[in-house]
């Protein structure tokens, strides 16, 4: 039987920001590892965007060697403790697992997390911090590369380039590194301690992390080259939050999910007034959207004491969020207003939200995305009780950098245009992650970071 990782009980966890999933014990991990068939031609690896040698690390776990298992994972993945927690394994490695034919795939996510958590603990006792491998070509150490943005794509590329022997500087505009891992994904899904540990690992590889640097403002791309950087990797993320364009969206207590989550996660507004950044959360929050960001927002709002509804214009089956997160949210008491589209946010005299006018939707013919297109039901308008509205309907690329460097070509949707080698229209300037694809998963960004690091290495070897 596939072993699910233990969870904090819903009644407890809605009152705290501690991690919901508790992970495997040693016995549970060994038992689950023993179920693995250790396939000769493993399909799971094909499902992994960074191609972790999954059967090998599972074999090491079977042999009770978590530290070696972790080292095996780190050959391909620089952020295992993060990926073990937030990767959508059900769509990737686990979807490909041969045992998935019987609907009991190996719980690869929980095993990766176990290896990361226990392997690190074991490693601490045995060895010192990880070291960068000796550069194959010692001269490469003198070559400087700038990585802009310290989210999953930037961290991955920085780590891989450091391992190849380059001297890497990682620039971050916020005051803490980690990008979406720090400001976006909540503590209860990804503890910030874990993120900072992963960042420390990457620093241990020789990467210099510079916070409070906004490339495009504090330093321009041309200046980075002048300062001797041989290549630049832009991993600046998905960008500006989108709003719906309905009346009342600028009322007080209407937040973009980015603002709401940044206040809660990066600025620790849940610890207000000990932490000085405030957050207004009323008693009834409506979260608009059906993706992971919407669910993260909803579950934060719940923990801050509000009753929460997810308002989504399609049906549950169409929700892009992970099934696991939808399930967790349900258990925690998040209400669902499905097939519901907001049309107007109502405000009081002082400009605060006092309700959300919605219209019911029905599913019509499939649209371009293959999902059934929701169409408004006539005369179905109603007012949803709400004093806080969180808009989680996606992002558009941040125009800041492309305005600062107009020669950087963008696509019609604002994303930065790159060739098959992740190179932008500017020679030596590469880009990857959400800034080239639009909002996507952590692991997809990491996959881009890995490929871009290889492309940068090739570029430097050809043009150096």
């Amino acid at each position: 039987m596939r072993k699910q990782a233990r969870l904090q009980a819903p009644a407890d966890r809605i009152k705290n920001f501690f991690e919901v999933a508790l992970g495997y014990s040693k016995e549970e991990a060994e038992k689950e590892a023993k179920r693995c068939l250790l396939c000769k031609d493993p399909l799971c690896v094909k499902g992994c965007p960074v191609r972790i040698d999954i059967p090998s690390f599972i074999r090491l776990l079977r042999e009770n060697k978590p530290q070696e298992a972790l080292a095996k994972i780190k050959e391909r993945n620089n952020l295992p403790a993060v990926c073990g927690r937030v990767c959508p394994q059900e769509d990737q490695c686990e979807a490909m697992c041969i045992l998935n034919k019987k609907k009991i795939p190996i719980n690869i996510g929980a095993l990766e997390r176990y290896a990361a958590d226990y392997g690190k603990a074991a490693g601490k006792q045995l060895t010192s911090e990880p070291q960068a491998s000796e550069p194959a070509n010692p001269r490469t150490r003198e070559l400087k590369i700038a990585v802009v943005g310290s989210g999953p794509a930037g961290l991955t590329a920085a780590a891989d380039l450091a391992k190849m022997g380059y001297s890497v500087t990682l620039f971050e505009s916020l005051h803490k590194p980690g990008g979406v891992l720090t400001y976006g994904i909540p503590e209860f899904r990804l503890p910030k301690k874990i993120v900072m540990d992963e960042v420390e690992y990457i620093k241990g590889l020789g990467v210099e992390v510079k916070t409070d640097y906004l490339v495009g403002r504090t330093l321009g791309l041309a200046e980075l080259f002048e300062k001797g950087y041989k290549a630049i990797f832009l991993a600046i993320g998905a960008g500006l939050p989108q709003f719906m364009g309905i009346p009342g969206e600028n009322l007080s207590r209407v937040y973009s999910a980015n603002e709401f989550l940044t206040r809660v996660n990066l600025m620790r507004a849940y610890a207000f007034p000990e932490s000085k950044t405030p957050l207004n959360i009323g008693t009834r929050a409506a979260v608009i959207g059906g993706g992971n960001v919407a669910f993260d927002s909803a579950r934060c709002a719940l923990r801050l004491g509000a009753k929460v509804s997810i308002v989504y214009r399609r049906a549950e089956a169409e929700m892009p969020a992970r099934v696991e997160e939808i399930q967790n949210a349900k258990e925690e008491g998040v209400e669902f207003q499905l097939l519901t589209q907001p049309v107007k946010i109502l405000g009081d005299e002082q400009g605060f939200v006092k309700g959300l006018e919605c219209v019911r939707m029905a599913l019509g013919e499939p649209d371009a995305s293959g999902r059934k297109r929701p169409v408004p039901v006539k005369n179905s308008n109603f007012i949803l009780e709400a004093d806080t509205v969180i808009v989680a309907i996606g992002q558009t690329p941040n125009p800041l950098l492309s305005r600062a460097a107009p020669e950087l070509k963008t696509n019609p949707n604002g994303t930065i245009a790159v060739n098959e080698d992740y190179m932008t229209s500017l020679p030596g300037v590469f880009a990857g992650g959400d800034i080239i694809t639009g909002a996507d998963t952590v692991i997809a960004a990491m996959g881009a970071g890995k490929k871009a690091a290889l492309a940068i290495d090739r570029y430097i070897k050809t043009n150096g």
Partner: protein, 280 residues
Amino acid sequence: MFRVIEKSKLTGDITRIVVAAPDIALKAGAGQFVMVVTGRDSERIPLTIADTDTSRGTLTLIFQEIGFSTKELGALSEGDTISHILGPLGNPTHIEKYGTVICVGGGVGIAEIFPVTKAMKRAENRVIGIIGARSKELVILEEKLKQTCDELFITTDDGSYGKKGYVTDVLSGLLKVSEQSTHTIYPNLVYAVGPVPMMRKIAQLTKEYNIKTIVSLNPIMVDATGMCGSCRVTVAGVTRFGCVDGPEFDAHLVDFDELQKRLASFKEKEECLNKKCPAK
């Protein structure tokens, strides 16, 4: 970490600090701002860059100690460090030779017009400054502005210094005179920074005369790089982000009512920080 090199109280609750931030000082233009995080659990607060000295690599910040975070910053002494400063942010003021430029500053907004008067003067404009405060002891930067302005008018609400009344009274007077005057002293641009009611009044006034007017807005910000949207303002009926699209906008198109309401969003919480939080 960013070291405080100098600190002085300009008046009452307005404090001036000079901080070492060479990279930012090198890039800062008039009208730009920085985000400051004073200590470990501090808020990120936007502050306009009041002056820069590229040879020393310093920024001057002038702020009113009005809420918890500005008081926390004001409590630092020379030699102390500020945890984080990010910048320069926002679009710099568009500087060109307009002809005559009137710069209006109210309260701590006086500090914010200073770099603009300096840049406008350097671009060979005739610069007229109008500054206003509640009373004499709150008037700041008079001597510095006299150097960057061809003419400087001062008002106080209580008449304890300069002309009794508001900056808008002086502006209104100047516009009336210039309208009747045969030789041209008609302003080509009005630039204003101050409390929202002041900026709104100025916008109303200059609209009557159809004079291009720029205001620098101070909406609430968190990241200030375009990521959160806390700073959204409605300009010409369209939502814009103060941090990446601003902070300066055409005064005649700004929805000041909405701005004022959004600025009051966290008032209760602010009181909570200043006194004691009421039991939950």
